[in-house]
Symmetry: C2
Subunit: 435 residues, 2 copies
């Protein structure tokens, strides 16, 4: 501290899209702040991107340009490679491996790569005493990786859950505020640039699942296990569900939830109803949020922007500042050879409350038949709402259950589906009361 | 990383109240977790407290007992002294100074000492390359000091604000939920152990102000400046104010807010109205929360328990784990000799919206007189509510203003007070719209 003037930390940046451009700009803008806080400058030496000609709003002429990021990772004379190419495999993965093998720290925003290959990359980094840092990979505007690896390190974390995809939360928020349908709002989000032309990664829950696998790993000290995340997206959420949720005192959110249970490690991404008393119910628009439950601290809650050049660059540079100070913590909180191996809990063993929306022909006895189907599978009904009455058209019926197990619930749903007056497959949304 | 087996980090604990006992218990309980995450054990060697006989629910017989914490800080052969005595001066301050002078790191939960003496202590620690760590001093259940010093380190923070005292938030929450009066709820909180027998430090805003001074220092890279925190407590908040706030779409919270402005550094602790759209409006009971506004990340929000053995011990041990890993960051984020010196903004220069509650005799012309008083000081009225009508008794009149400056507002209040039909001093609550 108050050290003699130290050499700059030198970096190479692979990938100059929105985030890469943001990192270059923020490093320039905060140069004096960074030096005051770490005692060192952070200096860009080399960059690599596909399109050299593109105007990124920053002067890149004084950096070495590499057409091949892997060659840059191997040969550039820098301390750190910042990987911002994206994608679980291909050039991003090759660049990361090359950098670590060449003795360079890696800072990355690449959630897909870490969720899929994190367990391979951690030993590569740790055996060489190198950082593999990824604060930017999950909820860039919230330093949640640092909170879990360091701030809450004295806790056994029992649950980590959150809103991990801003696009989905924007769509669900807009649907609620306007009453409009999913496709309509998605189209608008695409025009506004909040959703990709191919929106599947976001709206089908893949992106949230990548982030959840990383959070679970850091929270529980287990290897990232993306393959066992149970994933459902938000395409099936109807304006009617949102209206009923409101009436029942809930909000519908795409929740990623990981829990260490006696049945094994639970990891699921699903649209869920959360009670208005939970802070997570009030997270609106493109914001992300995370709830962590620790045995000593109890529940703590974090909210911030999940994406965008500013928040992501802030997270990338925070990682670089840690490296500049020599603060290197094992990638996933505990050393790779101590990452616990925990079997995934079978999804059928899940227990929780459910919301079920049915479309039924309004005829005598239909409610009795539905109630009997639930009773036969020992699922206890909490409430039933049938609002519209129309002898000529199907009308919605909404049920909520007390806590039941997923296997019984699924059997009950099959029974309900077989009721002749039920004209559409039942639509199920999980309710999380204790969040 | 995956290092050779390293020596234990040895510690001495001064003060064995609720928090001290919690630290001893949590260190024992999480021993394997701590060693997995830091590569070292953390071992208690020595302890000191006033009452040796008291049962703290833990076996203390295998630790060296010192009657004098200062002597322990000087002489015990340990790496770290954990100061949990409390109080800005006296034994806590002496123990801290003695430890640092003897070359020992200090971890403390002592907000009063840091708010008042932080600027003296930082050079003592930093010149010797020692940690002076205090995550537990502010909102123990939220790793907010680490978030500001490290996670958000690439940002210029422009504002930090929060609910920093759980006792006040519990009282305000209970008043709103039950409609009961302040004194009544305070008495109950005292019986339940949520408020001290002498509640002044909490309810008059002193405790929140200590924490705010620390947050401001870490956020802005300035020396803690408790002397310039503008402090008002919650004694004056009436059930009527809370009911009107609800009607107007606000919650009343004791808000600590620090802002770097062109007029200087603003630090204020006051009961404020915050809009229901803000996450801070939904923080209930004994929870604490902090909002940080950074130039790159935008707004991020943190919520967790503020006090209690578990959350505070969690924060103390997180600091110890950082020291065990060799992670030592300057006390207030930048080295002590680079802490900026920023003049305090005069409170009269504050600009904001106001809620004013008056008790008036219900007679013709009184509203006109009040409106004229505001107009004469160029304060623009936003809304006016007069609910009850009673020719025989004073009735409440509630006004809200558009943004005005504090000096004009104070002059307007004096004019209003002089209106003959206004029978009590006007009661003012600041409205924070942009939170």
């Amino acid at each position: 501290m108050t050290p003699a003037k130290r050499d700059a930390l030198t970096i190479a940046i692979a990938g100059l899209g929105t985030v890469g451009g943001g990192v270059v700009r923020l490093l320039e803008q905060q140069a004096s702040l960074i030096e005051a806080r770490t005692g060192r400058a952070i200096t860009i030496k080399a960059i690599s991107a596909r399109d050299r000609a593109r105007d990124r709003g920053v002067d890149l002429s004084h950096y070495d340009w590499w057409d091949n990021p892997v060659a840059m990772a191997q040969e550039a004379k820098v301390d750190v490679v910042v990987e911002l190419i994206g994608g679980s495999d291909g050039p991003a993965f090759e660049t990361t491996q090359a950098a670590l093998k060449a003795g360079k720290h890696v800072v990355t925003a690449n959630k897909a790569m870490l969720a899929v290959h994190g367990a391979e990359l951690a030993p590569l980094a740790e055996k060489a005493g190198l950082a593999l840092s990824f604060e930017a990979a999950v909820a860039g505007g919230i330093p949640i990786i640092k909170a879990l690896k360091e701030g809450l390190a004295a806790n056994r974390i029992t649950r980590v859950a959150g809103i991990l995809n801003g696009t989905c939360n924007y769509i669900l928020t807009t649907m609620r505020e306007t009453g409009r349908a999913f496709d309509d709002v998605l189209g608008e989000a695409q025009r506004l640039g909040y959703a990709e032309a191919d929106p599947s990664t976001d709206i089908d829950g893949i992106d949230a699942a990548h982030k959840l696998a990383i959070l679970a790993s850091v929270a529980f000290g287990t290897a990232p296990d993306f393959a066992h995340v149970h994933i459902a997206g938000i395409r099936g959420v109807a304006p009617l569900d949102i209206a009923y949720a409101d009436e029942l005192g809930y909000r519908i959110k795409l929740i990623g939830l990981a829990e260490m249970t006696e049945r094994g490690l639970v990891q699921r991404v699903q649209p869920c109803m959360v009670p208005m008393s939970s802070p997570i119910a009030h997270v609106e628009g493109v914001f992300n949020a995370v709830i962590a439950q620790g045995d000593a601290v109890g529940q703590s809650f974090y909210q911030g922007r999940g994406a965008g050049a500013g928040p992501t660059a802030s997270a990338v540079i925070a990682d670089l500042m840690d490296i500049a100070r020599g603060q290197i913590v094992p990638c996933f909180g505990v050393p790779h050879d101590q990452l616990a191996s925990v079997a995934a809990a079978p999804i059928e063993s899940h227990r929780g409350a459910y919301f079920i929306r049915l479309m039924v022909r309004d005829q005598p006895g239909v409610i009795a038949d539905i109630a009997a189907a639930l009773r036969d599978e020992a699922v206890s009904l909490e409430s039933m709402l049938q609002r519209g009455r129309d002898p000529h058209e199907a009308v919605p019926v909404v049920l909520t259950t007390h806590t039941a197990d997923e296997a019984s619930m699924m059997r009950a749903v099959h029974r309900i589906e077989a009721v002749e007056a039920v004209v559409e497959p039942p639509h199920l949304i999980r309710i999380i009361q204790d969040i």
